[in-house]
């Protein structure tokens, strides 16, 4: 056991897997000698060698394409897209190729690749270092979409992803790398070391894909969240004084429908929180599912608290970011419904 922040946990997951399995290799822009712009791959090249952790050309499409080819050969590449905002040049390779290789070849060829990418706002990154494009992947059959919210999960989910035989996209909330962040941005930043989920085993373990976690049991209302928003939801519940049951989805596809239904059936109310643009965000799918499954238990409309339908604007970071005030307001409103 060690105390790790999220970057260290992610680094450790790759290190553990590179040590166990010679077919695991890591590449991406600036990930080699330098160790990545967020330092997630620091030391891996030095420890495992030049061909096992190396820099890639600035060509996200090429990075994913070569990873697919390696996967088809039999390797398990772990690739980094430097920011989720830069994943679009690789979109065709992910959607048309990685996602469909198994299906179209009847499992003759597969793409057991793991794509890690920092995502989300809260760091004054402006419109091209803040995006949350997860819904653009949850719509695509054949991709698993994973979003951790703490060091323990980050390592366990990443190892599970690397061992998974299907392509997995992991969005890492970059605002959480160095400490939990609940959206009270004027408060001093707390390090992970003060948080229980920074207790991370040194070696191999997994957090299963497809399993959500109830991070705060409650009886008034179910809050569905993931990534940074888990911490915001907890802060909002405290702020609103509402006994919310906060669920950290961890995996968006396949989503843990049982945990969701069980909770909403109990609480009869549901608030969904994500940072992404509202229209057609993953919150829409969650809302649709919840009302399909729990219609007769719902006592108020399901509410969504999300980023606005605009790009992420540099100067309005905290107005865009769905912080605890906005979430608390929704919690109160849903309790009145």
């Amino acid at each position: 056991m060690a105390t790790m922040n999220m970057i260290q946990a992610i680094n450790s997951a790759m290190d553990v897997m590179m040590t166990r399995d010679p077919d695991v290799l890591v590449f991406g822009e600036d990930v080699g000698y330098f160790g990545g712009v967020f330092r997630a791959t620091e030391g891996l090249q030095k420890k495992h060698g030049l061909t096992r952790c190396f820099d890639a050309p600035i060509a996200e499409g090429g990075i994913v394409a070569t990873a697919i080819g390696m996967g088809a050969y039999g390797l398990r590449p772990v690739i980094e897209i430097q920011f989720a905002d830069y994943i679009y040049p690789a979109y065709d390779q992910i959607v048309s190729e990685a996602a469909r290789l198994r299906y179209r070849s009847a499992a003759d060829f597969t793409a057991p690749i793991t794509l890690r990418t920092p995502y989300g706002g809260g760091i004054f990154g402006g419109q091209t270092h803040s995006q949350s494009p997860e819904a653009l992947f949850t719509h695509v059959a054949g991709i698993k979409t994973v979003i951790p919210s703490n060091p323990y999960d980050a390592k366990g989910l990443l190892i599970a992803a690397i061992e998974d035989d299907d392509p997995v996209v992991i969005f890492e909330p970059k605002r959480l790398y160095n400490g939990p962040f609940d959206g009270w941005h004027e408060k001093p930043v707390e390090p992970w070391s003060k948080h229980a989920d920074s207790d991370v085993p040194d070696g191999h373990y997994t957090v299963p894909l497809g399993k959500a976690k109830v991070v705060r049991p409650g009886s008034d209302v179910t809050v569905l969240s993931y990534g940074t928003m888990v911490h915001v939801a907890l802060a909002a519940a405290a702020h609103a004084g509402v006994d919310a049951e906060v669920i950290d989805l961890r995996t968006l596809v396949p989503v843990d429908i049982e945990t969701i239904v069980e909770s909403v059936t109990k609480t009869g109310r549901c608030v969904i929180v994500h940072e992404a643009t509202r229209t057609s965000g993953f919150g829409a799918e969650l809302s649709a599912m919840v009302q399909e499954e729990c219609f007769y238990h719902l006592e108020a409309p399901i509410l969504r608290v999300t980023g606005w339908d605009t790009p992420y604007p540099h100067a309005f970071e905290w107005e865009y970011f769905p912080g605890p005030e906005r979430v608390a307001k929704a919690l109160k409103r849903v309790m009145e419904g």
């Binding site: 090429g62 394409a65 390696m70 003759d108 054949g142 429908i257």
Partner: protein, 413 residues
């Protein structure tokens, strides 16, 4: 030069146009065909800069008399030549039958490779059987040469019960890892950069297998082409990057992909990738160039780009009608001839073949294809027979998650 003089001539936009459209006489006057044997054959250790002229000429071995000449003559045994001819003739017979079957409504779609058979047929022989090919939809000859059963190909085309890809793919989108044939994508170009990744993996593992990638000249405009060349160059990947320049991309002539401004082979120069431009209808030239490239790759000398200069004699697909955009007779006037006829003439010139032998081969090919066709059609053509509907929901993931399982149940499976 000092005073900024504003040019008053107004600019104009150039849209490239082919020499001849329907109704025009066919016109290959601009074509520069160097004589067979004229291109030098450098050592495989030469670098891209040293061999750059080979990107602008045409490597040709078979002369007008059917003789093999010059330094690129691979000096093949007649057994090998005959084996190549057989692959081409069977491929052509196969294409003819399947095209007809589509016309008869037995499947939804088909694509021929008529006129381009030499490329895949010669390469299948020049490569090792376990080298991994990343084909487009016009390299069916690879499968045929490597002994993949014709009946399985047909089952794929008919999406019938025995379809190896379980009714999920459009016809002609074959796959066979066992035969070193990567699953064909409907999305153009994507396989080109994947092939480089496969080659990198092979190098990473200290394997000796190489990758062989294909792309049409039209599709070289996709970003994946650039990714492939960049990654192959940077990591010195053991891969052969083939551009099959059949001069047409559906209705667009090669000028729309930039083919009037430079050769496709010359694209390699800027990446430091040795590039060869080859007469794609010359079986021997394709074989020799491929050997050169594969020797380089296997000796850890990295990638080679090969442009196969050929002509798409058939319609793009069964959905196409070329006489709407090019003179109907253009294919017949193609100065570099037909690859089957040229290899046949060569074997005859060698005294190893006769018109009768050829007729017998054609007959045999038709028969082989017909027999496979009957077998496959007995299983069923499109709509008559198919895999279980359950297959629609399988293989999206290795293990079917709850939401897809539920959907399958909703369908009653």
């Amino acid at each position: 030069m000092n005073a900024p003089i504003k040019n008053t001539v107004s600019l104009s936009l150039r849209i490239p146009e082919p020499k001849a459209r329907p109704g025009d006489p066919i016109d290959f006057s601009g074509l520069n065909v160097p004589p067979a044997g004229s291109a030098p054959r450098p050592d495989t250790r030469a670098n891209a800069f040293q061999v750059r002229d080979l990107a602008f000429t045409l490597i040709r071995v078979l002369d007008e008399a059917g003789k093999a000449v010059g330094p690129w003559d691979p000096k093949l045994s007649s057994a090998l030549l005959k084996s190549g001819l057989r692959t081409m003739v069977i491929t052509r017979a196969y294409d003819d039958r399947m095209y007809r079957m589509q016309r008869q409504g037995k499947t939804s779609f088909y694509m021929k490779c008529t006129g381009e058979e030499a490329v895949a047929s010669a390469q299948a022989l020049a490569l090792e059987d376990d080298d991994m090919c990343f084909p487009t939809y016009r390299q069916q000859a690879l499968l045929i040469a490597r002994g993949y059963p014709l009946v399985d190909m047909m089952n794929q085309i008919y999406s019938n019960e025995k379809d190896p890809v379980k009714g999920r793919q459009l016809p002609v989108m074959y796959t066979s890892k066992k035969h070193g044939f990567f699953t064909i994508s409907g999305n153009l170009g994507t396989q080109f950069s994947q092939a480089v990744g496969w080659a990198m993996a092979s190098a990473y593992k200290g394997d000796s297998r190489i990758a062989c990638a294909y792309i049409g000249e039209g599709s070289t405009a996709e970003g994946d082409f650039h990714s492939a060349l960049t990654f192959a160059s940077v990591y010195d990947a053991p891969v052969i990057l083939n551009v099959v320049n059949n001069q047409w991309a559906i209705s667009s002539f090669q000028g729309i992909a930039g083919g009037e401004e430079s050769t496709f082979a010359s694209r390699g120069i800027g990446y430091g990738i040795p590039a060869l431009r080859v007469d794609g209808n010359d079986f021997l030239a394709v074989y020799a160039a491929t050997k050169w490239a594969s020797e380089r790759a296997r000796a850890n000398l990295g990638p080679t780009l090969i442009e196969h200069f050929t002509y798409r004699a058939a319609p793009h697909s069964t959905s196409d009608e070329p006489s709407r955009y090019r003179p109907a007779e253009e294919a017949k006037g193609w100065p570099l001839g037909d690859p089957v006829e040229r290899l046949k003439a060569h074997l005859i010139a060698l005294g190893e073949w006769s018109e009768d032998d050829h007729k017998a081969l054609e007959k045999e090919a038709t028969e082989v294809v017909r027999a496979a066709g009957k077998e496959s059609e007995a299983i069923g053509t499109l709509g008559q027979s198919r895999p279980s509907v359950k297959e629609m929901f399988e293989d999206v993931f290795k293990e079917t998650p709850w939401h897809i399982r539920r959907q399958r149940q909703e369908m009653g499976y």
